[in-house]
Subunit: 401 residues, 2 copies
């Protein structure tokens, strides 16, 4: 049994804040500041360049990749950290398209849906333009993905949990369907890793990517991860072929030769400060069972939905009602969603707004419990009942929403 | 006049170390640890997701880009931080090839030299394969670049300072020749930024990229930068088209539209911890004149060369003798270079080794002076005279050399 009272104590939570936005940026793990400080003074400061060997900096992307891998059903040695999620989408999609083209050069469709995070679609558009081989990005409704999987599809590019609604794709089923139709699958786990149990190997996913600043609490702009199925690891072409993905980076050869397995997905020099913070953040997952996280997450989301629907009748549920069909977040819709969220934040309840009309709340069992859910709804219902959102200062758009 | 006694006090230097590897990884700026700690506790910890607005995290890549820009002759708003140098090479080269193809679709040569850092060549190889339009990476000797600039060249991809030898390309002259021949220029400033005066605007460079963990002391894996000439900024196609390069990232549109100017070169979520460290590191450059840095750098390198040649006759100079033809580093060649460098490191003189036979020393005026140069040669000459390198423990190769 996971001890959530213990995990809660591992995070800093500011006084007066009810934080329901760990799905956007996880809170500061108490261990992270000390870990980064120690890295800076005892390693960078004292070892200088020798840190690459003496502090094993060069091994961090693989070592931490394995730590993330344990949370997403990836076998040891199949995940590596680095870059940002968008960059990793590019590499995964380029590799998958290459393998798909070898099998059947006629397929030209990259299938995605309009619940995918826009950056994934943008990176696909950029890759398609760079490739200039007639690929088409076909974007359908999430519910239409299944029907759209046919013999024209080279690769599916899907985010398991919809960032707006929390709606969950069935990774195992869609992957099996895509494979049966002769396509490869790239899965984006941005809202899955640390939120729900993921079984990449069991689902036979071809590639997966994700970020670590949401449920994994790695800090703003924390490094991304990429998973390559062991079936493809020695065939994948990384497209972004940087020196640290080379078979022998320090031979300084003039020609690229891909490294073993997932190592080839490394590109440039790894971000050691950020990896140190992430490493500390991942300590919170030691002894945590994803099944326990899932159970508590569904209970918290169900409680929130029930309370809001009872006490805030103007808000319309924008997420699946069935907890098994949802990630670890809940959205409600309202035309004045932006102002409502600003009013909530002014009262210390932090969620976020996703255009055009969704207020979004993340439930993160490691540090959020029923007490916070009830307290948040108390404030939300006050704001809705008394139209407290209807003030000019709550309608001024910030740079980042 | 730059006060180098004052800048020296801004860095942590471990007792007993003579650090001549700031061209590989700059030392810890004393301000960095506090700045990163404050960012973690006062911003990430206290503000949580609100830091993106309230602490202006979202503006950091541009704000810090301008700070770097002042050191490389880039006008305000023409430099943005993010990703790694390899990623930025890919974006710059892809953009330059696009513009070149618009002008003259027949040109198929990307011209580089074998003194370029291998990762630049690898990224070019990866891009060429992805483009699959018959581009050829032509790699000549550094001395042969000039003669190879002809009407077949679409883009030159050159590193201004050779990472092995410190040999300096004449950026202004080569850029002018390339432009006269109808080609565009991408300049890699990895060993230039903070090492020598650079005048990107004056040289009319098209694109430039660089890293910040060498002479700019941003820490291991610190973010890279990219410069786009104002002439191209609103035409360049970033290839890696991520959401933060979108015209309106938070509109969550389904289609990519490039942002204004250099903003389109942003890709994913910026690495805020690393940017905070870099920001603190750049404080050391306030009040520093690059002309003073250059003058002291040449003097230190000249002194080192003179002392080594006098006292270590077995070592062969691997760098240009003329200081104006050199960056801020000096290499000496010896078949046992690896063991010699290990013996030096064991005695506290830290430089590095570059295969096959170069021992490389960086001279960084902000925190290194004549005293260190003489002390380093004292130890080097002891090692050479008494063959102290000829011991098994100095011949065992480390992971990172």
């Amino acid at each position: 049994m996971t001890d959530f009272e213990q995990t809660r104590r591992l995070f800093h939570m500011p006084e007066g804040v009810i934080y329901l936005d760990g799905n956007s940026l996880g809170p500061l793990p108490l261990a992270a500041e000390g870990r980064v400080s120690a890295m800076m003074t005892e390693q960078w400061g004292a070892m200088l360049i020798r840190g690459w060997n003496d502090a094993n900096w060069m091994a961090m992307p693989r070592r931490i990749g394995d730590r993330v891998g344990r949370l997403i059903g990836a076998p040891e040695g199949s995940v590596v950290m680095g870059d940002t999620l968008s960059i990793k989408v590019y590499q995964a999609l380029a590799s998958a398209l290459d393998i798909a083209a070898e099998r059947d050069p006629k397929r030209r469709v990259i299938l995605s849906d309009n619940g995918n995070f826009p950056s994934d679609l943008y990176m696909a558009e950029g890759l398609i333009q760079t490739l200039d081989r007639g690929y088409e990005l076909k974007v359908v409704d999430p519910e239409a993905v299944e029907a759209a999987i046919d013999e024209t599809v080279a690769v599916t590019l899907l985010t398991e949990v919809d960032y707006r609604t929390g709606r969950l794709h069935d990774m195992a089923a869609l992957t099996a369907m895509a494979h049966a139709a002769g396509a490869l699958c790239v899965w984006d786990l941005a809202h899955s890793a640390g939120a729900i149990p993921v079984d990449l190997l069991g689902a036979d996913a071809d590639f997966a990517v994700g970020c670590t600043y949401k449920y994994l609490n790695g800090g703003p702009g924390a490094p991304a991860f990429i998973y390559v199925s062991p079936r493809h690891a020695d065939r994948a072409r990384p497209a972004l072929s940087g020196w640290l993905g080379h078979e022998r980076p320090f031979a300084f050869d003039l020609h690229y030769r891909p490294g073993d397995g997932v190592d080839r997905m490394r590109v440039g020099t790894p971000p050691i400060l950020a990896l140190a913070a992430l490493d500390a953040a991942l300590d919170a997952w030691e002894g945590v069972e994803m099944a326990d996280v899932r159970k508590k997450s569904i209970a918290l989301c169900d409680l929130f939905i029930a309370e809001v629907e009872q006490r805030c009748p103007d808000l319309v549920l924008g997420s699946p009602r069935d907890g098994t069909q949802r990630g670890s977040q809940v959205s409600f819709l309202h035309p004045e969603g932006y102002a409502i969220m600003q009013a909530l934040i002014a009262r210390g309840v932090i969620g976020d707004f996703r255009a055009p009309n969704a207020i979004r709340f993340g439930f993160t069992p490691l540090y959020i419990g029923e007490r916070e859910v009830i307290a948040a709804v108390d404030i939300l219902s006050d704001i809705m009942t008394n139209r407290l959102w209807d003030q000019p200062q709550f309608k001024k758009k910030a740079l980042v929403t």
